[in-house]
């Protein structure tokens, strides 16, 4: 049994839909031995071949000698820093392929402040490392490398065998828009993103690379086709800039009539998206669940999902998002049930029972034969003889003569009046006092009676407070069911210690307990007292626990949770002891942060 093996299980479960990773050659340049061990363990476990370099010079030497698919370079390395290594390798390679270069750093600002600090690397990974992230990023980058290599071979191949499609793409790519020269980093449609096709840049962007600004739509495109943006992680969070002017409110920015003066508006939109994206929890950024993506999108745009009338849609409305209205409504309704969204009534439509279209033609029609060929006839009542019938029966030129008694009607109100009217169908002759109302489906030609047609309500959707919380805090916010232990959340220090504890358990049967502390009142306290105050109280709390447990235990601070590793006790015994420790530790706090814990024993890691 090993902790890392069980980690694998967890990480595989997360990488849903990805095919099993191929064995890659990876270089890890890292001066901390703990991180070295862990990365090596982790990547080996995933089937990759790992070489380790402890400083910049070793790394450079390895890169020159061996061909790697991916290199993880720590920014602050002894002798040569990671950026220097990357710069040298790139300049030496020239036109030749270079491994995908990933920077790891706790000093992201320092790296980015260097000239060409960001661009030299294919991906930046902030420290502390999320071990789930590392494997994913390495494998994704390796895939891009393989794809690029393939593309190079295709280019090298004789011209005539190139498929037609490539030509079309090339020509569309050639038509550059002035937007592409504004100094932003845009993906383009077509070009980078197309039906079932992503360029290397687009794949890079789908990994959540913060250097991309948006997606330029250069040719007219149907809303259904834009779903390829939604099928990729992270891409859906980029603002859509419509250069065709045909997407309307579906796009985030209409660039079709933009003048040079207004480019600051574009700038504002892009910056707003960037800011909000930075606040979105990675659970949502990389979610493959359509509903969760919708929450992420709403959080990033910071706008409700508003329907607008749209005759071109079968649903007669479209939302201000590049998704089919039916999909939006389905996902949003499920989110309403989960309390993440709330809806507000917009309009009520009648639905075609056969094809689900809302494009219905409303008609007054005959109740018997459904013809709309109706004519209204007023009828006259001749008081004297009680004849009552349609006016045309009375008409004799410009005179009104009673068809029953041949008496001429001369005085309205004295001889006769008009008590009502009937609607006569010219198709079948049926008459009624009122016409029936019916619908004809414009899409499939099905007829529906007005009173039996079912109705569908269309809503606007708003993020609830909980929805916003979910976007910011990810799955950890959602109920106890999702409070299960995830290795992705564990700090590296803890993983290493856990591994050692597991080894001890295997060899000497010495039990251990991992305590996972979470704070139920975090959001309330943050809302009332501010994040700083909460952080201080939490620090104090963790310090109290550390003091109470003494040297025999390891107490580690995590991102949203804190952990304690107790040696020599099983979870059932540890629970009771830790309960007391928690109560004492919470005693001296200024506010109730709602600390609770879960205890996991060796059996839980089996």
């Amino acid at each position: 049994m090993s902790v890392v093996r069980s980690f694998n299980v967890a990480s595989n479960a997360h990488a849903t839909g990805k095919r099993p990773a191929l064995g890659r050659r990876v270089l890890v340049a890292e001066d901390s031995p703990i991180t070295q061990d862990l990365l090596k363990l982790l990547l080996n476990q995933r089937g990759h071949e790992v070489d380790v370099a402890a400083d910049g010079e070793q790394a450079l030497a390895a890169l020159r000698q061996q061909r790697y698919d991916v290199a993880l370079l720590d920014f602050h390395l002894p002798k040569l820093d990671g950026l220097q290594v990357a710069t040298i390798i790139r300049s030496e390679a020239g036109e030749h392929p270079v491994p995908r270069l990933i920077a790891i750093t706790a000093d992201m600002e320092g790296l980015l402040s260097q000239p060409k600090g960001g661009e030299t690397f294919d991906q930046l990974l902030p420290k502390p490392l999320d071990i789930y992230d590392v494997a994913q990023v390495v494998e994704d980058q390796a895939e891009i490398a393989a794809w690029e290599a393939e593309a190079r071979e295709t280019e090298a191949a004789p011209e005539p065998t190139a498929p037609q499609r490539v030509h079309a793409l090339e020509s569309a790519r050639d038509r550059r828009s002035h937007f592409e020269d504004l100094g932003y980093n845009f993906l383009t449609w077509p070009g980078d993103i197309d039906l079932g096709h992503l360029s290397a840049r687009a794949m890079q962007a789908s990994l959540g690379d913060p250097r991309f600004d948006g997606i330029l739509i250069k040719t007219a495109v149907a809303i259904e086709d834009l779903s390829s943006i939604w099928n990729e992680k992270a891409l859906y969070l980029l603002p859509i800039i419509d250069l065709t002017g045909k997407l309307g409110h579906i796009a985030d920015f209409d660039g079709s009539r933009l003048t040079a003066l207004e480019s600051n508006q574009l700038d504002e939109v892009l910056r707003r998206f960037q800011d909000r994206r930075a606040h979105l929890h990675r659970d949502l950024q990389f979610s493959s669940d359509a509903a969760e993506k919708l929450v992420g999108r709403m959080f990033v745009t910071n706008k409700p999902l508003t329907p607008r009338y749209d005759p071109s849609s079968k649903w007669l409305v479209s939302y201000d998002v590049a998704l089919d209205a039916a999909v939006v409504a389905r996902e949003a309704e499920s989110l309403c049930e989960r309390g993440l969204l709330r809806h507000e009534f917009y309009d009520r439509f009648h639905v075609c029972p056969r094809c689900d279209s809302l494009r219905l033609h409303v008609r007054e029609e005959c109740a018997q034969c459904h013809s709309s060929n109706l004519e209204e006839q007023q009828y006259l009542h001749h008081f004297r003889c009680a004849y009552q019938g349609p006016e045309e029966n009375f008409r004799r030129g410009d005179r009104l003569v009673c068809p029953k008694c041949r008496y001429e009607l001369t005085h309205f109100g004295f001889d006769y009046d008009r008590p009502g009217s009937m609607v006569v169908c010219d198709a079948c002759g049926h008459a009624a006092s009122d016409p029936a109302v019916g619908f004809m489906c414009v899409d499939c030609g099905t007829h529906v009676d007005g009173d039996v047609a079912s109705v569908r309500d269309v809503y606007a959707y708003f993020l609830t407070e909980q929805g916003t919380g979910f976007a910011e805090l990810g799955h950890s916010l959602l109920g106890t069911a999702s409070r299960a232990l995830r290795f992705a959340d564990l700090p590296l220090e803890l993983v290493v210690a856990l591994n050692a504890a597991a080894k001890k358990y295997n060899d000497l049967q010495q039990p251990f307990t991992l305590i996972n502390i979470y704070y139920q009142n975090e959001r309330e306290v943050v809302a009332e007292q501010g994040a700083r105050a909460f952080g201080k109280v939490r620090d104090l709390f963790v310090e109290n626990i550390r003091a109470a447990l003494g040297d025999g235990a390891l107490v580690v601070k995590g991102q949203s949770r804190d952990f304690a590793l107790l040696q020599g006790v099983g979870p059932s015994q540890a629970k009771g002891e830790f309960d007391l420790v928690m109560v004492q530790a919470a005693n001296s706090l200024r506010f109730d942060i709602g600390a609770s814990f879960q205890a996991f024993g060796p059996e839980d890691f089996a």
Partner: protein, 421 residues
């Protein structure tokens, strides 16, 4: 008192045949002939079967026509009972005559449920005649059955009312109307007995002698061709009597279908009953002696002995009896003083016997009705009919004769009163 009563009884018992006639001439002239007629008719009915009543093949298509004013509560029940028929109508057309309740919405709902073919709604009230005419103009059936909203029907009523129309000479058939609420109180019980005697049995007798002069407005079937020929219904009250007389004048036979049973609610207070009867009797007088006067004129081309019979029947036994009865009582008291009361009681006793006998006969020819329940009320009915209703009738006749009150009836819209014939 007892003494004088026993004296009176001794007196009555000691009379000879001739002197009895002198005492009871009113009963003998105005009441007895009717009872004899009944006896004769029932004797005949015993060996009589209605022609074509067992015929099952359809004679033609049937349209049911319903006209109502503010009938939101009863229209659905009425339509549903038509659909319950062993032989339901081919189409139902309903006219809401200027209803101010929810009847128009009710019609729309019935039409949507496919229970009626057409529902028409006038915004202003035109009167029952005009409403029925509107429906008649939309009818397509060979036969048109006109029913009232507050009626419900026996399962075979429609089949049985259509059956006589197999005879091509027949223009209209009257249904047999019974009282649904007979057990509500004394007033409705009396009317239950009255309907049984005058309609179930009386019309059956009239039918034998081709004297059916009124096809009930509540339940009547018409040959559409014949009905349209006389222009549907004419304006004004008593349109059922009116149209029957018109059809007879046009040469059509009008008959009675005793087994076409229909139930209706009758007025349950004396005041309502009196109002209803004032209206009926007024309309009868107006129609028979004003509008259809020519039927009694031997020099008119429309004159026929057939019609004279029922006209005289009405003249003598309804109008005559009503006018002479007070005179008879006055005469009794002036001639016999205290003895008059005894004589009157004796006359009433005789009447009760005759009424009971008629009732029994009526029950016999209308086997589907449980007449036994009404039997205890027969003596009361006899008194009520002999004294109260006769004066009601007299009042109605006098009022119509002197004031022409039927022209102010609220049953017909004022705008129609003003101009109709």
């Amino acid at each position: 008192m007892w003494e004088s009563a026993s004296d009176g009884l001794t007196y009555l018992l000691s009379q000879s045949g001739e002197s009895l006639f002198r005492l009871f001439w009113f009963v003998i002239v105005f009441e007895f002939p009717r009872y004899t007629l009944s006896f004769l008719s029932v004797a005949a009915i015993a060996g009589y079967t209605a022609p074509g009543s067992r015929r099952s093949s359809p004679l033609g298509t049937v349209t049911a026509v319903i006209a109502g004013h503010n009938e939101e509560d009863s229209i659905e029940r009425c339509v549903l009972s038509l659909h319950e028929q062993s032989c339901p109508p081919d189409e139902i057309i309903v006219v809401s005559d200027g209803s101010t309740d929810r009847m128009p919405q009710k019609l729309r709902e019935l039409q949507d449920r496919g229970l009626i073919k057409e529902g028409h709604c006038t915004q202003v009230r035109s009167g029952k005649s005009a409403a029925v005419n509107l429906a008649l103009a939309r009818a397509t059936g060979d036969f048109v059955v006109n029913v009232d909203c507050d009626c419900t029907f026996d399962r075979h009523a429609l089949k049985n009312i259509i059956a006589p129309l197999a005879d091509p000479r027949v223009g209209a058939v009257s249904g047999n109307i019974l009282v649904r609420n007979a057990r509500d109180n004394l007033i409705t019980a009396f009317q239950g007995i009255e309907y049984l005697i005058t309609i179930s049995q009386g019309k059956q007798a009239a039918d034998l002698t081709d004297q059916v002069s009124c096809v009930s407005g509540a339940f009547g079937a018409f040959r559409r061709k014949a009905w349209e020929g006389v222009g549907g219904l004419d304006a004004g009250g008593g349109e059922d009597l009116d149209v029957t007389l018109s059809l007879r004048k046009a040469g059509w036979k009008t008959v009675f279908a005793p087994n076409a049973l229909c139930y209706t609610d009758v007025p349950d207070t004396l005041a309502a009953l009196v109002r209803q009867r004032f209206r009926w009797e007024r309309d009868a007088v107006r129609l028979r002696y004003r509008k259809h006067r020519d039927m009694l004129d031997p020099f008119s081309p429309r004159f026929s002995w057939q019609e004279v019979l029922h006209e005289f029947d009405f003249l003598i036994f309804n109008i005559g009896a009503a006018i002479i009865f007070p005179i008879y009582i006055l005469w009794l008291f002036t001639t016999y003083g205290d003895l008059a009361l005894i004589i009157l009681m004796g006359a009433q006793a005789g009447m009760m016997v005759l009424d009971s006998a008629t009732f029994a006969l009526s029950a016999l020819v209308t086997p589907r009705v449980n007449a036994l329940r009404l039997a205890p009320y027969v003596p009361g009915y006899s008194l009520f009919n002999g004294f109260v209703m006769r004066f009601v009738r007299l009042g109605a006749y006098l009022e119509e004769w002197i004031l022409e009150a039927s022209y102010g009836d609220t049953y017909v819209p004022q705008k129609v009163h003003r101009v109709r014939r």
